[in-house]
């Protein structure tokens, strides 16, 4: 029998939620355990759990204390959370078009300057990456990606922008992101995608799931306009391939 994994910390988030914390840092192994626990709870639901929210390093489990108490829930979760990870299954992969630079990526040149290279090199490195959706949060559809080229790791802006455009493709720290709605952000804006990771009347409403793989490819600004119109009309415009 395979050895069990070290137990996560069970941190109370009030009387109706528990944070199952696998790591304090951004760590791909921890994220895999978060997503594995999330999947296991979806496959074999525990009575009383109402909603789960995967993040980089922890799974937030909302539950009804009228159905199950903190201790009883913890006793049910721990054996599942310490199971050896299942073999990696095939993930969905999204190929996401990006119009880099210019009005769509106002920080591209500054990022290149700061890192001592050319904007083209930044585009090649960013679009050449193999990313995983580690979590979705902050605003609807905002997909936080792990897998950013180490060369592109740089601290966030000193002062966050109060508003950044919908579809922004950006980097911040060791993370990359696909932003859906216009929102404040302290990340560096490299480009924009016409892809809507969240669109209300489309099926599916949310495109990406934690665990999905993502790659980017560059498009010119004219193609962006065409795809943006199609996306507005409800087309997905990201290409789905098997990983």
């Amino acid at each position: 029998m395979a050895a069990t994994l070290p137990p996560p910390r069970l941190l109370p988030s009030g009387d109706s939620a528990v944070t199952v914390e696998f790591s304090r840092t951004i760590d791909d192994d921890a994220n895999q355990r978060v997503l594995a626990l999330d999947k296991a709870l979806a496959a074999a639901p525990i009575d009383g759990i109402t909603e789960t929210v995967p993040t980089y390093r922890s799974l937030l489990i909302h539950y009804d204390p009228g159905k199950i108490g903190f201790d009883a829930l913890g006793e049910k979760i721990l054996p599942i959370a310490t199971r050896p990870l299942p073999p990696v299954t095939k993930a969905r992969r999204w190929r996401v078009p990006v119009a880099y630079g210019g009005e769509h990526g106002i920080d591209l040149e500054d990022v290149a300057k700061t890192l001592g290279t050319t904007p083209d090199d930044i585009v090649i490195r960013h679009s050449g990456g193999d990313y995983k959706v580690a979590m979705i949060g902050f605003t609807p559809g905002w997909s936080y990606l792990s897998g950013l080229d180490k060369f592109l790791h740089m601290s966030r802006r000193q002062s966050p922008r109060l508003l950044t455009p919908s579809g922004t493709i950006s980097i911040g720290g060791i993370q990359a992101g696909i932003q859906c709605l216009a929102a404040p952000s302290g990340w560096h804006l490299l480009g924009r995608t016409p892809v809507r990771t969240y669109q209300l009347h489309r099926n599916p409403t949310f495109l990406t799931e934690p665990g999905d793989r993502v790659t980017f490819y560059a498009i010119d600004h004219k193609t962006f306009e065409d795809m943006d119109r199609a996306a507005e009309a409800g087309e997905i415009v990201a290409e789905q391939v098997d990983a």
Partner: protein, 345 residues
């Protein structure tokens, strides 16, 4: 069908219900009423499900006019003066507006949010089971934004049912109860004590997303950046400047500041109804107490239909009578579950 027209309304007023559950994993926040008990009380008065969509009215005044027929409504929550053409309408009661009549509500006299429920509930297009307004995400129906004068709702014509009032449990007083965590280990004992032992005020810059707390600066043990993790209603996060923010119904689904404590479910509505500038304290409780209070809170909401009274009954304050030793045997004659008596005919 009748219409209910918003004749005038202040900021921070919107359609809210029990909230939007199941999509926090996609970054979609829950939203919903800031004070769920008051929402449920108003809905119960007009025969709706407790968490049906109603109008959440912010601290300023508002008025509503019935058109194309009568409309039956009820109000509960932050107390305010209310009248129809000069005749007063009591809080925690239902009333029917005849065609053309206007219900006028004054400023909140304490607290912030009052709920106007409409018989048959507000109708609209649900997203993830909710009509609640989440302006940032463009969600909410029939108006995906705060309400404005001139907005109107197509509603059921008034049923003509007997008007009711609701006898709510005496509101809890005392400190707002919290459970420490999930990141209380990011603070040393002195700063945890500072959080629990200090007086706090809610800043006027607060909104449905978060209540900013004014008081001493709380210092972190290892700095203010943690790797983002999930938030809940009532998470109290401490950003870099040390001024805690209690996350409310329009919170982001994840956040990257350490969360020192979480307001217990039973007290979130009380915190929501604490007016800006009013001094209050926090008190840490055990998980057992918090979950017990959460179960009692759920039971109170389930019991609301049993708390309805005909609006022509009179309440006797039995405790006061007992204290004065005048109630005597009369106490046993009243409904022992609710301490109500009906007026002599």
């Amino acid at each position: 069908m009748s219409r209910l027209v918003v004749a005038s309304i202040g900021p921070a007023s919107s359609v809210q219900d029990g909230g939007r559950h199941g999509a926090q994993r996609y970054g979609l926040t829950v939203s919903g009423a800031m004070d769920r008990l008051s929402l449920a009380a108003a809905n119960t008065l007009v025969g709706n499900e407790p968490f049906a969509a109603a109008i959440e009215i912010g601290p300023f005044g508002a008025s509503f006019t019935a058109r194309d027929g009568a409309v039956r409504v009820a109000i509960s929550g932050a107390p305010r003066n209310a009248d129809i053409a000069g005749s007063p309408v009591a809080m925690d009661s239902s009333v029917t507006l005849k065609d053309g009549q206007t219900l006028t509500l004054g400023f909140a006299r304490g607290g912030a949010f009052t709920y106007l429920a409409i018989e048959g509930a507000i109708k609209g297009e649900q997203v993830f089971g909710s009509l609640a307004v989440n302006a940032r995400a463009g969600l909410g129906s029939p108006y995906p934004r705060p309400l404005q004068a001139g907005d109107e709702f197509t509603v059921d014509a008034a049923s003509g049912a007997e008007e009711l009032r609701i006898e709510l449990p005496k509101p809890a007083t005392g400190p707002i109860r919290v459970l420490l965590g999930p990141q209380d280990d990011e603070f040393d004992d002195a700063n945890k004590a500072l959080f629990l032992d200090s007086g706090w005020k809610i800043s006027a810059t607060s909104d449905r997303m978060g209540y900013r707390l004014e008081g001493p600066a709380i210092k972190h043990l290892h700095g203010h950046n943690i790797v983002s993790d999930g938030t809940v209603n009532g998470s109290i996060q401490v950003p870099g400047n040390g001024a805690p923010i209690a996350l409310m119904m329009d919170r982001g689904t994840s956040g990257g500041y350490p969360k020192i404590a979480t307001v217990i479910t039973a007290d979130i509505g009380r915190l929501a109804q604490t007016s800006a500038g009013t001094a209050f304290r926090f008190k840490a409780v055990s998980m057992a107490e918090a979950q017990d209070e959460a179960r009692k809170f759920a039971q109170t909401i389930r019991s609301l239909p049993d708390r309805l009274r005909s609006s022509d009954t009179v309440t006797l304050n039995i405790e006061a009578l007992s204290d004065a030793n005048v109630a005597g045997y009369a106490v046993s004659a009243v409904d022992s579950g609710t301490w109500q008596v009906t007026a002599e005919p």
